[in-house]
């Protein structure tokens, strides 16, 4: 079901990217504004409040968060620990139901996990240890019936090449380094050609050098394929570097602080980027002192 739609939408991508750039520059502050033309939205998150229960508490993770992701966006959600950004991503993934509000993908209500939203996790154990790199990438294609037999193998191999892991296609995950594992996970996600790729701090567990390289590689892949990605991070430089659009969440519970455009591609070291970084930092940590005792969890 999802595969045909996905392929069709891919071809319209560059045009949509242009449309996004044309949207009014007005930096939207405070509660995000609903766009007037919801037909253009790929992902529509409207007034989403997420609460969950632990043994002793009812915790509000996010409060009335709204934002829209357009086709081809590199949409980054950034916020300190405990702002509910991972929880929000899990809700988009369909693993959690919002207590209030709704999440729509291409106009359809998100109610459960599905292969039209592939998630890339931070944890290395997202790769199935009993499958080789190649089998891991081909697994969702075959198991969801997106592609069968040779077509699935070819698609899997194609994306393994894209992440430069051809030599390791028949290795088992435990023989790979952390960065390579994350590349496999990204290849596996992209091979499905989902409507949107959900990334939950995929580079957070990597060392700084590998992390930078992975960021560059991800951008390189985006230049080539122009997929839509919703990326969660707590790192402001990462958000500025990777994002085309940045959503700032306040901590505990997560509320939208701002939704702003990032600097153009390749200017993450410019003065403009530094100014943006300072601005984001100020916005996020303005009320740091009073929030500090609560800043736990993810």
């Amino acid at each position: 079901m999802a595969s045909g739609a996905t392929l069709a939408s891919k071809s319209t991508l560059p045009g949509m990217g242009g449309a996004k750039a044309a949207s009014p520059e007005a930096a939207i502050r405070g509660r995000a504004v609903t766009d007037t033309d919801p037909g253009r939205h790929l992902l529509d998150v409207r007034g989403v409040t997420i609460q969950y229960k632990t043994q002793h508490h009812l915790i509000t993770a996010t409060y009335r968060v709204s934002f829209n992701v357009l086709q081809g966006d590199r949409f980054v959600v950034v916020g300190p620990s405990g702002c509910g950004k991972s929880t929000l991503l899990k809700a988009v993934g369909g693993y959690l139901a919002p207590t209030e509000g709704e999440i729509r993908l291409k106009g359809e209500l998100v109610t459960k996990p599905g292969p039209d939203r592939i998630m890339v996790f931070q944890e290395f154990d997202q790769l199935l240890p009993w499958k080789t790199v190649f089998e891991n990438v081909a697994f969702p294609l075959k198991t969801t019936g997106t592609l069968q037999g040779k077509a699935a193998d070819e698609r899997a191999m194609h994306y393994i090449e894209k992440v430069n892991l051809t030599d390791f296609a028949h290795s088992y995950p435990h023989t790979l380094s952390g960065g390579m594992k994350q590349r496999v996970a990204i290849a596996r996600g992209m091979a499905m050609e989902p409507d949107i790729l959900l990334m939950d701090e995929p580079f957070a567990a990597l060392d700084a050098l590998t992390r930078t390289r992975m960021q560059d590689e991800l951008l390189g892949l985006w230049d080539e394929i122009r997929f839509t990605v919703l990326f969660v991070t707590h790192s402001i430089p990462e958000a500025i570097k990777l994002g085309s659009r940045i959503l700032l969440l306040s901590p505990h519970p997560g509320q939208v602080k701002a939704e702003i455009n990032s600097v153009p591609r390749g200017q993450e070291n410019s003065d403009e980027a530094a100014a943006l970084g300072r601005e984001i930092h100020e916005m996020l940590f303005a009320d740091q002192i009073e929030e500090a005792p609560n800043a736990s969890g993810g």
Binding site: F121, L128, P129, W130, T143
Partner: protein, 288 residues
């Protein structure tokens, strides 16, 4: 007094690959031999056998402890004349039927247990009640219910295998990481497909451990049952062979029977389970 010393940048020249001395050196023959697991294990066995032989000769009372050589002679004779293979085969047949049914039932029970809360409670309660209950204690009842025959033996075998295996399976399923579960759900895997493609492989180390324990339990139960009601299983298995030999004061044959059980146990552990392990959990890096 601290003084700022200006230090230059230092750049070094690197050696080419041909300028190194030894980078890789083969191990000596002794080290290579010592690295062989099977060789180390065989050495242990040889030492034990020699100790037995010496003790048996020193004691010089074949009715209590015949020397290792006597036991081996009895073993070889009875293997050659087909007595032991026949008994072993009859034991193994019953054993496999009981072990397989016990494992399948354990699997069904565990899948039921992870798919509903009442199932979990059911399995918890049942294992708490029946796991400590020795299977052999059910044999008298089984004989009344199923008569003198393989049926009773299979019943007690199932009882001895099922609880141990399902406990391990449940522990394994519970230990599957949230990320792996979410990955599976991301690809629309639900129900039995989810169990088969995510849970079972991910929990395989625990499942394998459970199968090993179940296998050992099954052997013990079977031999014990045969020692008590051995003739019930048709021609009688290894347990009955041991019992018979003891009655006829053929003590070397008693040891031959015990050795056969040990050898089968070693073979299953070192060949069958080892094979499964190297092909699965070791290759997947789930076990070092």
């Amino acid at each position: 007094m601290l003084q700022a010393v200006e230090r230059p940048n230092i750049y070094c020249e690197m050696l080419g690959p041909d300028q190194f001395g030894i980078i890789e050196k083969p191990l000596t023959l002794v080290e290579q031999i010592y690295n062989q697991v099977w060789l180390r294990k065989i050495t242990i066995l040889v030492v034990l056998a020699v100790a037995w032989e010496i003790y048996g000769r020193w004691l010089d009372n074949p009715l209590l402890v015949p020397p290792f050589s006597d036991a081996m002679r009895a073993l070889i004779t009875d293997v050659a004349n087909g007595a032991i293979p026949q008994r072993a085969l009859s034991s193994i047949q019953v054993l496999l039927v009981g072990f397989a049914s016990g494992t399948v039932l354990a699997g069904l029970l565990t899948v039921f247990a992870i798919s509903s809360r009442i199932g979990t409670d059911f399995l918890d309660t049942m294992t708490a009640m029946f796991n400590p209950l020795p299977a052999i204690a059910l044999l008298p009842l089984a004989l009344i219910w199923f008569g003198l025959g393989a049926g009773s033996l299979v019943f007690v075998l199932i009882h001895s295998v099922m609880w141990a295996v399902s406990l391990n399976m449940l522990a394994g399923f519970r230990g599957v990481s949230t990320t792996a579960r979410m990955v599976g759900r991301n690809y629309n895997l639900t129900g039995l497909r989810f169990v088969a493609r995510i849970l079972i492989p991910a929990a395989f180390p625990s499942i394998l451990a459970g199968l090993k324990i179940g296998w050992a339990f099954a052997w013990r139960t079977l031999i014990a049952a045969e020692l008590v009601f051995g003739v019930s299983s048709g021609q009688g298995g290894l347990g009955w062979y041991i019992f018979e030999s003891k009655n006829q004061l053929n003590i070397p044959e008693v040891f031959a029977g015990l050795l056969t059980i040990i050898l089968i146990g070693l073979a299953v552990e070192n060949v069958v389970f080892r094979f499964i392990e190297t092909r699965t959990v070791q290759r997947w890096g789930m076990q070092t």
